[in-house]
């Protein structure tokens, strides 16, 4: 067994892990990050967009030096059926403070930069090593076993991602039911910078975040997304696993059909696929948050189920960053008292509860259940499209008053359903 004992060993060099390492090392703690990929970010992907607030508070002005892609100024939400699309388009030209901004980014570059920041302040980093086991002695976590070597630490921070193999091994994370999860698949499509600006109507360095509800997930819970990067477009779908067995389409086929939708195809015409990635999205919100802290161990980020799907936006990275920071602060507090027991590390729980993470997860606790309602992904997009079609089609037949047209289409879904879903929807957000 190693002579050296770290204040913390962090498993995983994603956002939670790198931020925890940065905060710890900056305060002079001995910290080691172990990553199974060949570099930080090599196993990671995002849709994706980062809301900057949590990182901005840790590294002020980070966006000026970090490899971000574009600042999001255009938000779009589209109800999509197989042959129609109804879009809400919001252009934000107002001045924003740094904590209000959000950026599209790609994790390969971004995570390496962030881990580099942690190394600059003294964190140690090894890549290409898979942690196989968490070492437990007398019920207390005392280190990790990786590649046959045992490394000891006063605490271990699990930042291992959405599939928490080690957290399960410790019994802290219950095997999550698949209906609490969704799968995402993404294509990264390369296009010239000017073409992206022209097609998405963007000023220089400005980006678009675009979500699609309805047909992309073949009527299952989920949707499609497009995020514009500098010279590529992140295009993908997310689909709930709840009822995937009965789907008549595979997930890759959903993505392919989404790409070929008449509304999408011209946007990516001539583009070249440069990467294809997949990821699981934890969607049960507060209902899947595991035991977060135990003797000598803390769980952060996706591994802790810290993800918010609010329908018009999905957040995970800003939660991962804030939870990594909270875990680091808890380890620092434990270090001051030289008490790394669950009790000594318990400020992690308090910090999370006082932060937006637990507050937001609590606020949206009814939302995952609401989103399981198939009407949201099937009937409403069609209803909106039918209303639009009635309004905008002129064929010379005598016109109907708009309210009659509206009522006809609402009736197809059912007034009671509309009222019920409207009420539930409004009360769950």
């Amino acid at each position: 067994m190693s002579e050296e004992s770290f204040d913390a060993i962090i498993v995983g060099a994603g956002l939670a892990g790198s931020v925890a390492a940065y905060v710890l090392a900056k305060e002079g703690a001995d910290v080691l990050v172990i990553e199974r990929g060949n570099y930080a970010g090599s196993k990671n992907m995002t849709g994706g967009r980062l809301y900057s607030h949590s990182l901005e508070r840790i590294i002020p002005g980070f966006a000026k030096e970090a490899p971000i892609e574009r600042k999001v100024t255009k938000e779009k939400v589209t109800f999509l059926t197989d042959d129609t699309g109804v879009t809400l388009d919001y252009h934000n030209g107002r001045e924003q403070t740094a904590i209000e901004e959000s950026y599209t980014l790609l994790r390969g570059d971004f995570d390496q930069w962030l881990m580099g920041k942690a190394e600059e302040v003294g964190a140690q980093f090894i890549s290409g090593i898979r942690v196989d086991e968490i070492l437990v002695q007398d019920g207390k976590v005392i280190g990790v076993k990786a590649d046959g070597d045992e490394l000891t630490a006063k605490s271990v921070i699990l930042a291992e991602g959405v599939n928490p193999v080690l957290g399960e091994q410790l019994g802290m994370v219950k095997r999550v039911k698949s209906d609490a999860m969704a799968v995402g698949a993404k294509e990264l499509i390369e296009l010239p910078e000017q073409v992206i600006r022209d097609r998405f109507n963007l000023n220089e360095d400005e980006g678009c975040a675009w979500l699609f509800a309805g047909s992309p997930a073949n009527g299952l819970m989920g949707g499609g997304f497009i995020y514009t990067n500098k010279s590529s477009v992140s295009l993908g779908i997310v689909c709930g696993l709840h009822d995937i067995g009965s789907s008549n389409k595979t997930v890759p086929q959903m993505l392919e059909d989404f790409k070929n939708h008449a509304m999408i195809k011209p946007l990516i015409e001539g583009g070249k696929l440069i990467e294809y990635s997949g990821h699981v999205v934890p969607e049960a919100g507060i209902h899947m948050v595991p035991k977060l802290v135990d003797d000598g161990v803390l769980i952060t980020g996706d591994a802790a189920g810290f993800c918010l799907n609010i329908g018009y936006t999905v957040r995970g990275m800003d939660l991962a960053i804030a939870s990594g920071e909270a875990a680091a602060k808890a380890v620092l507090a434990a270090r001051d008292k030289n008490d790394f027991s669950a009790q000594g590390l318990s400020s992690y729980q308090t910090l999370l509860e006082d932060s937006f993470i637990m507050k937001d997860l609590n606020l949206y606790k009814e939302l995952p259940k609401f989103m399981e309602n198939p009407r949201i992904f099937n009937q409403y997009p069609k209803m909106v499209a039918d209303i639009m079609q009635s309004m905008f089609t002129v064929d010379g037949s005598p016109s109907q008053p708009i309210r009659k047209t509206l009522m006809k289409h609402c009736k197809e879904v059912g007034y009671m359903n509309l009222i019920k879903d409207g009420f539930k929807g409004v009360t769950s957000i």
């Binding site: 199974r36 060949n38 999860m181 890759p252 993505l255 696929l273 990467e275």
Partner: protein, 95 residues
């Protein structure tokens, strides 16, 4: 209707370090077909294939390591699910 997707072509855009001889996902023998069908539908890499004659074909090379199959069938038809050993598996250049 669009043409049937060829996921293998998409995976061809990716960088993989395949750990020859060390499959990180192993299916049980004669897996229940209803369970298997979930994986056919859900796996973003399309690794779980069902031939026209009803035989199954699975190869863990090309895995995106998302864990979808583990969440769906980890307790039913998967014998083993673990991450590839360090340095192996998919390597996202962009992410």
């Amino acid at each position: 209707m669009n043409k049937v997707v060829n996921v293998d072509v998409k995976l061809g855009a990716n960088k993989f370090h395949v750990d020859e001889g060390h499959a990180h996902i192993i299916l049980k023998d004669n897996p229940d077909l209803n369970e298997y069908r979930k994986l056919v539908n859900a796996c973003p890499a399309g690794l779980y294939k069902l031939e026209d004659d009803g035989t199954i074909r699975f190869d863990s090379a090309g895995c995106l390591e998302c864990g979808t199959c583990k969440f769906l069938c980890g307790e039913t038809i998967l014998e083993k699910w673990e991450y590839p050993r360090g340095t192996f598996g998919v390597e996202y250049r962009y992410g």
